[in-house]
């Protein structure tokens, strides 16, 4: 009985410490970094040299977030484009940066803003993931973007990254 109580108390205490540690860590590491969800790269026909990447960026910080570009070892060049249909003509507008105000969310999705992946170094296989670095004024963010079939709806965004493939792993940048 006594033993059990002590055990239980110890466990509770350990749990609390563990919880604090987790919170502490996540607070320290992820406090202001944007939440990234709905990550997708479109699988492409064999031989294609371009494809699109989509994601949702939630700027949870108190500062404006400016995305200045993206890069990946598997793609020669990544640009930020916006699809637009004006007077029945589909076109793409290149953006040098995307600004997201504090607390705001920006969706890069079909028919609007997207990452344009150009000159693929090697084919992006369906089911694989593409490592992409998103460059922002708050530091670089490492993304792990699953390659999916076009037309597959975006996966629901999860609150925290417990290994879900649609969640980016934000890492603080070493850069100033």
């Amino acid at each position: 009985m006594n033993m059990n109580t002590t055990m239980s108390k110890t466990m509770k205490c350990l749990n609390t410490i563990a919880l604090f540690c987790t919170l502490g860590l996540s607070q320290a590491a992820f406090a202001d970094l944007p939440m990234i969800s709905n990550l997708q790269v479109m699988a492409h026909p064999p031989g294609a040299s371009v494809t699109a990447g989509y994601l949702t960026i939630n700027n949870i910080s108190d500062e404006p977030l400016v995305v200045t570009g993206a890069s990946s070892d598997a793609v020669t060049r990544i640009e930020m484009h916006e699809s637009a249909i004006k007077n029945d003509v589909a076109s793409m507008i290149k953006h040098e940066k995307l600004s997201i105000a504090a607390g705001e969310t920006m969706e890069l999705k079909h028919g609007g803003f997207h990452l344009m992946l150009m000159d693929l170094v090697s084919p992006l296989m369906l089911g694989s993931t593409l490592a992409v670095t998103l460059h922002t004024n708050q530091g670089d963010i490492q993304l792990s973007m699953p390659v999916v079939k076009p037309g597959m709806s975006a996966m629901p965004s999860a609150k925290h990254g417990h290994g879900e493939i649609n969640i980016g792993t934000p890492e603080p940048s070493d850069k100033p």
């Binding site: 026909p45 040299s49 029945d88 076009p150 037309g151």
Partner: protein, 236 residues
């Protein structure tokens, strides 16, 4: 040499502009009449009757995102292009079946793949509901990069039953121009690459090769299927 600014004198030029405009309108009417006389010989482009006009108006009101046209609006002109197998394709492609034509290019990362995916779902829906099949045709407005092989890969990826059309740029543009489809090319700064701006709508062609509908973007599976069914019920 500087081009003189004509802004201050624009007002003085209005009479000239008006005369030019009037001449253009008259020329247009004459040209239209000539085309009409030429077309009216063919049964395929016969004038719609009053009953047909009324039916078209009622149909138009029931459609979500599609504009319908009378049968004498535009007929697909003669053309000579190739498909994804490299086989010759002519205007006879559009005979004896309904077709949906989309104009795009395979280097288009966002709108074209999504449209192809949507049309794939449309084809599935039509099959599931036992509706008359729709031939899906993708005309590349970037034939320089979209060779038959490239189009073959593209069609196989989305739906091998879809027809991919390419050919000489001048021949493609002759066809698109006559169908009122636009395409323009913009170089991506600092690269050899270019982007193509193109008409986002799709054209519905009837089994006699006549343009009967313009399906506006943004495309949605449901509205395409619904509008196509209504058009079939009324014009099929």
């Amino acid at each position: 040499m500087t081009i003189p600014s004509d802004t201050p004198t624009l007002r003085n030029r209005w009479p000239i502009i008006a005369v030019i405009a009037a001449v253009a309108v008259i020329a247009g009417i004459i040209a239209n009449k000539a085309v009409y006389r030429k077309n009216s010989d063919a049964t395929a482009t016969a004038q719609p009757t009053d009953a047909e006009k009324k039916q078209l108006r009622t149909l138009q009101e029931s459609l979500a995102t599609t504009a319908v046209f009378p049968k004498n609006f535009i007929t697909v002109p003669a053309f000579s292009l190739i498909d994804q197998q490299g086989e010759a394709v002519t205007e006879s492609l559009f005979k004896n079946q309904w077709s949906m034509v989309f104009f795009g290019y395979t280097h288009c990362p966002d709108i074209c793949p999504m449209t192809m995916t949507i049309m794939n779902s449309v084809a599935d829906e039509l099959k599931a509901s036992n509706t008359q099949a729709l031939q899906v045709v993708f005309v590349s407005v970037d034939p320089k990069r979209d060779t038959a092989d490239v189009l073959g890969n593209y069609m196989n990826f989305f739906n091998p039953t879809f027809k991919g059309i390419t050919g000489k740029l001048a021949d493609v543009l002759a066809l698109t121009g006559k169908l009122g489809i636009v395409a323009s090319y913009t170089t991506i700064e600092g690269t050899e690459d270019y982007l193509v701006d193109h008409t986002a709508s799709m054209l519905l062609i009837d089994p006699e090769g006549r343009v009967r509908g313009k399906f506006s973007a943004p495309h949605k599976v449901e509205s395409i299927v619904d509008d196509y069914k209504k058009i079939l019920d009324n014009l099929g």
